[in-house]
Amino acid sequence: MSILEVKDLRKRFGNNEVLKGIDLTLEKGEVLAVIGSSGGGKTTFLRCLNFLEKADSGEIVVNGNTVYRAVSGKEPEILPSAQLSFGLVFQQFNLFPQYSVKENLMLAPRLRAKRKDSAVPYKEALELIGKRADELLATVGLTEKADAYPCQLSGGQQQRVAIARALMLSPDILCFDEPTSALDPELTGEVLRVIRSLKNSERTMIIVTHEMEFARNVADKVIFISEGMIEEQGTPEEVFGSPKSEKTRAFLRSDS
């Protein structure tokens, strides 16, 4: 069973049809790179996956469960658990400025543990959450910054915190929205290295990116979105090496 199936996802803003039917299947442990020129719909696609935008029609199926189903003109059905199937790392990091690095990681799991329907006693949960935060900070190489505040960190460090924060709730699919676009060129390397290090057979990732070299090296699968549709998809070798579509060729030429 595929970990993610997207069926005919459509979205329009007023008269502007941004997504014209996206279909996609992703297997567990796969890394998908989404490329395309700005305004083509790739960020909207990612935002629809994370329910920051509600797709007008289409289905999102995670592990065989339909978590989102929308029919044009009707209120979409969203499974309560849908949100946590996905994690998202933003272009602008969006760390919570008043919380320390470790508190940024712990905030959401902590608040969830506090809720009445939580199975584990709060104290026990808190201990586990703290442990997990320490582990993830080590993963992104920021153990010594646990007590620092976001304003004391470089952009690259902030983005690594954001990645750790997104991993705290163990999403099935971790999404990245142009994770290095807001960074100074000399800081992109550390973030890309961390993302690459996350790759393993258990972790499924979708990365919207302008870093073609990175997409080529890390992704198992690449899709090129243009004018709201998947213009081309395949392995990195296929898409970058021998693109079939004229649009893809033009895009890749202009980029290099």
Binding site: L84, L88, L107, A108, L111, R112, A166
Partner: protein
């Protein structure tokens, strides 16, 4: 010297009343203002328009007029509706407590309107990304607002808030128009009964000292929230 002490002690009594009015107004108008700011930002148009109009009226008419309205209007309305049941023009009876309550109600409503606009400015200045980050982490809108957004809002609105709160302590003097025995009333008492002008200046000193204390307190809060940038 004995006179000076007598003036000071009587003014101190007036100050306590003014301070009480100040404190109670803050306690009630801050949450009410927050609630009003949500209403003026509501997606439900009738509610939004209604509260925009309420804020417009409350900010667009003199506070003194509003104090009169709260104090006299209920009695007047009653007189129009049931003239036979009329017990006088003043619905709030004339004891000190009820006068104080009438003034308090006027202050709370008026200041809530001003605070609501300050809250609205602060809330709308927080980037959408903070809400989105909270949402993708599975937090409810309530959790996002109270655990993530609110402190950032507070940090941003402290300068305009301190301005408004400093104005409030001086505005309490308006309560003397309906006979609340606050600071200015007590000072005027000496002028009317004893022909003394200088107690008014002592009253001024009371306000000045209190505003000094407030200023220091706000600086402290600002410093305390200096540890993060928002």
């Amino acid at each position: 010297m004995a006179l000076f002490l007598e003036v000071c002690s009587q003014l101190a009594g007036g100050f306590v009343t003014a301070f009480l009015l100040f404190l109670l107004t803050l306690i009630f108008s801050l949450p009410l203002g927050l609630l009003m700011s949500f209403c003026t930002m509501s997606k439900f148009a009738p509610l939004r328009v209604l509260f925009k109009i309420i804020v417009w009226v409350l900010r667009g008419t003199p506070l003194m007029l509003q104090i009169f309205a709260i104090f006299y209007l209920p009695g007047l309305l009653k007189w129009f509706v049931w003239p036979t049941m009329n017990t006088g023009w003043v619905w709030f009876d004339t004891t000190f407590t009820t006068r104080f309550i009438a003034a308090l109600v006027a202050f709370v409503i008026n200041y809530a309107a001003y605070f609501s606009e300050i809250f609205r400015g602060g809330i709308q200045s927080i980037s959408q990304g903070q809400y989105e980050a909270g949402q993708v982490l599975g937090l409810t809108r309530r959790e996002v607002f109270f655990k993530i957004v609110l402190l950032q809002v507070i940090k941003r609105i402290i300068p305009p808030m301190s301005n408004e709160i400093i104005t409030l302590i001086k505005d309490t003097s308006l309560a003397n128009t309906i006979g609340v025995l606050e600071l200015i009333w007590e000072a005027k008492d000496f002028m009317v009964l004893d022909g003394l002008i200088w107690p008014l200046f002592i009253a001024g000193a009371f306000y000045l000292i209190f505003v000094g204390v407030l200023t220091i307190a706000f600086n402290k809060i600002e410093k305390k929230l200096d540890y993060f940038k928002a």
